[in-house]
Structure formats: C-alpha cells, structure tokens
Amino acid sequence: MAYSDKVLQHYENPRNVGSFDKNEQGVATGMVGAPACGDVMKLQIKVNTDGVIEDARFKTYGCGSAIASSSLVTEWIKGKTLDEAMTIRNTEIAEELALPPVKIHCSILAEDAIKAAIEDYRSKYDGQSLLSAKANNE
C-alpha cells in the first residue's frame, strides 16, 4: 500500500490525539466503526458557549489512512460552528489526503465521526442552551 505524503505526515505526527473527560461541560463524543471491520474512531469535541468547536481530540484504531483522516478532521473542525462542521464531506477529506479508492471508507468514517459527535452534543444538551447551563452553574 503506497501512502501519500499527507497521510504519512498525519500518521507520523498525528494532531490532537487524546481524550477529554466526557463529562466535562461542552464535551461530546462520537464513536464510529467496529473492531471487526478493522477501524474504530473516537472523536471528541469541546464546544464553547458560542456554539463553536474550540478543541477536538481523537483516538483511532485503524490503518494509517484512518488515523490520518481523523487527525485531519480534528484540525478542520476546530474553530468551526457545529453547523459549519456538519458540512464537511468525506470527498474533501479523501481529496486532501489523496486516498486511494480502497481507503475511501476511512474518509467516510471520519465524516461519520464528526456527525456522531455533533449528534451526541445535541442530544446531550438538547433544549438546554449552554448559556442557561452556564447560568445554572453560577
């Protein structure tokens, strides 16, 4: 399997590896894939009171392309609003990393991870804006 330079860069120096405490305020987690399929991605986002993703972390069990795809999306979603992050498409990921056809599923998984994290955020904080949560805390 020949990997592109960008995949290799992300694989050698993955950005934002790690975990947030999933109970921390504003943190949501998306976990997609299955061990049996050879890839599992965990993507965590930390959303600030303005609804902007201010930080992200990932852990990935999978091939180099899966690791690179998740590393790349953590960079891309930082600073984006949830709605903006929702617009990221797997084709953009695949293109950026020059993924070969057999590795397209890695980019799909990364897109799914973003969606899963946002979904988790929305269900967790459903009906309760962060601002009021903040007020409650005070």
Binding site: S19, A36, T60, G64
Partner: protein, 407 residues
C-alpha cells in the same frame, strides 16, 4: 551494552521467500552462460552436461527427503506441484471416487485447486482445525469415505508455522487406501522429512523457501506402491510424461544445492534459529495483551505469529516499516480481508487483523532481533495510546458487550 549496528530494513519474512544463498547462486551461474545446453538435447555434449547436472540435483532433493531420485518430478514451483498432485490424482482416479479432503488452513494453491475440482464435479471436505491450528486425527478419520480418493494436508503452515501430524495422517490414509498429498513447501530445511518412514504418496516442494531460486519446485511421486497421476502440463514428455517443458538447468542446479545445504546444515541452523525465536518471543510476549497464534510446541522455530490486541494490523506494519514482515500470508495480504488461517483457529476478527508473522532465517542476527523487539515495543505503545479500544479496555469496558455502530 552497546547495541550492534543493523542494516535496515530488517528482513523477517523468510516464510514469504528467502534470498538465494550465495553458495547456491555460485553453483547456478555457470549453467546460465557456460553449460547452457538443453538437458533434453541428446545429440551433443552440451545437452549431456546439462542432463547430468539435472540428475545430480535430483539426487540432492531426494537425499533431503529420503526418497528415490526417480520419484522426484521437477515443476515450476510448489503451486504447480500442488496443482499437479491434486488435479493429476483426482483426474486419474475419478473412476474410483470423486471425494477429496483438505483443511481450511491450507495454502491457496491447494484451496483454489480444490475449488477448481468442485467446479468439475468433485466433492471436497474442508476440515476445521483445532484452536492450536492442528488437524484432529479423529476429525480427519471421520471425514474419510469409501469414495475418497485423496487427502491433502500441509506439513508446515505458512502463516502460523504449526507442524501437522503427517506420519499419523499417512498411516490412516494408507489403511483406508486413500492417496495422501502433503504440501511441504514450508517444511524443507526446517523439519526432518523421511519418506521411507512416512506413508506419503505425493509431496510438494519449493526451492525459494529454502534459499534456492524462485521458479523451481518438485513433486515427489511414490513408486512403491506406485502412484498414478494425469499430467497437467503437456508437451515433449519430459519428466516421465508428468510434466513437459524444457528443464531450467540453472534453477534445478540451484534447488539441488539449496537442498544439499539444507540437509547438511539443518540441525545446527535450527538450533540457532530457535535461540533467536525464543529471544523474540520472550521480548514480545512481555507486551501486555499479545497472543501467539498456533501451537507453541508443534511448530517450526522459524515462525512466530503474534496478535497484538487493540492495535490494527496495517497501521502496525506501517509503524514498523524498518522490519520486513507480513500480516497474513504474502499472497493474500494485498486484500483487506483478515487472514482466513487465523479465522480458522477461531481468532476473532480484531485479533486476526492485528497479527504479524515474523519469520526468521539463515541470515537473521541477534542484533536484528533485539532491534525488532525494541521497535515493536515502542510502536505498540504509541499505537495503543492512540487506540480507543485500548482506552476502553483499560477502563474495564468489555468490548464484546459494546454495541458497535454498523458501518
């Protein structure tokens, strides 16, 4: 202690293929340029010289496995030997029956050939193996039928290195009047093969797994009791009509010399390789959550196949690119399927995905093994730090109970 310098990448894939031993190459070269005659040329000295070299090599191959040199047929490699043995016997004996037996962990060359025969109307039983990769004698015995014509069981598995009980299986087959074929491509130079003692009717050999050249192999065809086959490669009637085609003298000479060296050096070499294997095994099993695939005792010392739990195989291969190793067998690793051999052992897909085959050989050094252990430890740590499965495992989550999103 200062670590000795090693040349990178380190080749630990001797089960995929071996380099030609320089001593073998030296013997081959004159037959390319100087003694280049066609061994089938009967009218002049060039032909006779080549023929003599071919017959010397045949004697060397026969000597390694203790058979009569007239029982050795040259082929282009073990794949062709397997094709010839299985199709050749099935076609010749189809009047007697149309049932064959093999096991699920055979090499593709056997499995695909069996599938081919199924398309022709034969019936094939693919035996399950035990968790340790060995075929059970009882399971084998139970599969034999009155219309069974041939059973094919490999001697040493290419992926996990386990040694099948060939002598016992041969006895069962002989009592039942079933032909017994053994793919010994991975066995020569690693285990003792004595065809005087073992009741094997057909045995496949390859040169390039035993420090000989690629593109040459042989099939042992027993003379007493005589085993009849239908040739598969038709033409000039070379090799007693069983395999036509100009004999590649230099390759045959190479195989002969490789097998001669194997005969002479096998015992001391195995000792050295066992020491290296033990060192590697010791170093790697100290890593948490590692599983050795295949029986720990009944295996060749050259192979160790380990699954590293919670780490994905392809990313691991990528992480240890200083090591030339393979995940699954070389022939199937271009696909993303987990190894069918490991699946047959009952390993779950994750463990099958994260398996690495290390195969040690004649030119492996202790410094290389130490380098490999050190590198793998570091990389496994790094990948596990990145693995959500490892994190969950450490948090005490039972991964088998997790509902994974369908993908």
């Amino acid at each position: 202690m200062e670590q000795k310098a090693v040349n990178l990448p380190i080749y630990l894939d001797y089960s995929a293929t071996t380099p030609v031993d320089p001593r073998v190459a030296e013997k081959m070269v004159p037959y390319l340029t100087e003694f280049f005659g066609n061994p089938a040329s009967r009218s002049h000295a060039y032909g006779w010289t080549a023929e003599k070299a071919v017959e010397n090599a045949r004697n060397e191959v026969a000597a390694l496995v203790k058979c009569d040199s007239r029982e050795i047929i040259w082929t282009s490699g073990a794949t062709e030997s397997n094709n010839l043995a299985i199709k050749g016997a099935a076609h010749f004996h189809k009047g007697k029956g149309r049932h064959l037996i093999t096991q699920k962990t055979e090499h593709k060359a056997v499995l695909d050939t069996m599938r081919e025969l199924e398309r022709e109307g034969y019936e094939v039983t693919y035996l399950d193996v035990e968790k340790n990769g060995l075929v059970s004698l009882d399971v084998f015995r139970a599969a034999l039928r009155s219309d069974t014509i041939l059973a094919s069981i490999m001697m040493v598995n290419n992926e996990i290195g386990v040694i099948q009980p060939i002598a016992e299986l041969g006895e069962i087959c002989r009592t039942k009047g079933v032909l017994f074929h053994v793919d010994a491509a991975q066995a020569t130079g690693k285990v003792n093969i004595d065809l005087q003692l073992m009741q094997v009717d057909l045995m496949s050999f390859s040169a390039h797994k035993t420090y000989g050249p690629k593109g040459i192999g042989a099939l042992y065809v027993r003379r007493k009791p005589r085993v009849r086959l239908e040739g598969q490669m038709h033409g000039g009637g070379h090799e007693r009509g069983l395999r036509s085609g100009t004999l590649a003298t230099h390759q045959i000479v190479g195989m002969g010399e490789a097998f001669r060296l194997a005969r002479e050096e096998m015992n001391s070499e195995n000792e050295r390789i066992r020491y290296l294997r033990d060192r590697l095994l010791d170093g790697l099993t100290q890593i948490e959550e590692t599983y050795v695939n295949g029986d720990l005792v009944k295996r060749v010392p050259h192979n160790i196949n380990i699954s590293f739990n919670f780490v994905e195989g392809e990313s691991l291969i990528m992480a240890i690119k200083e090591l030339a190793v393979s995940s699954g067998s070389a022939c199937t690793s271009a696909s993303l399927e987990p190894s069918y051999v490991l699946r047959a052992l009952g390993r779950n897909d994750e463990l099958a995905h994260s398996s690495i085959r290390f195969s040690i050989g004649r030119f492996t050094t202790e410094a290389e093994i130490d380098f490999a252990i050190d590198l793998i430890r570091k990389k496994i740590n790094r990948l596990r730090e990145m693995s959500p499965l490892w994190e969950m495992f450490k948090d005490g989550v039972d991964l088998d109970k997790v509902q994974w999103a369908a993908h």
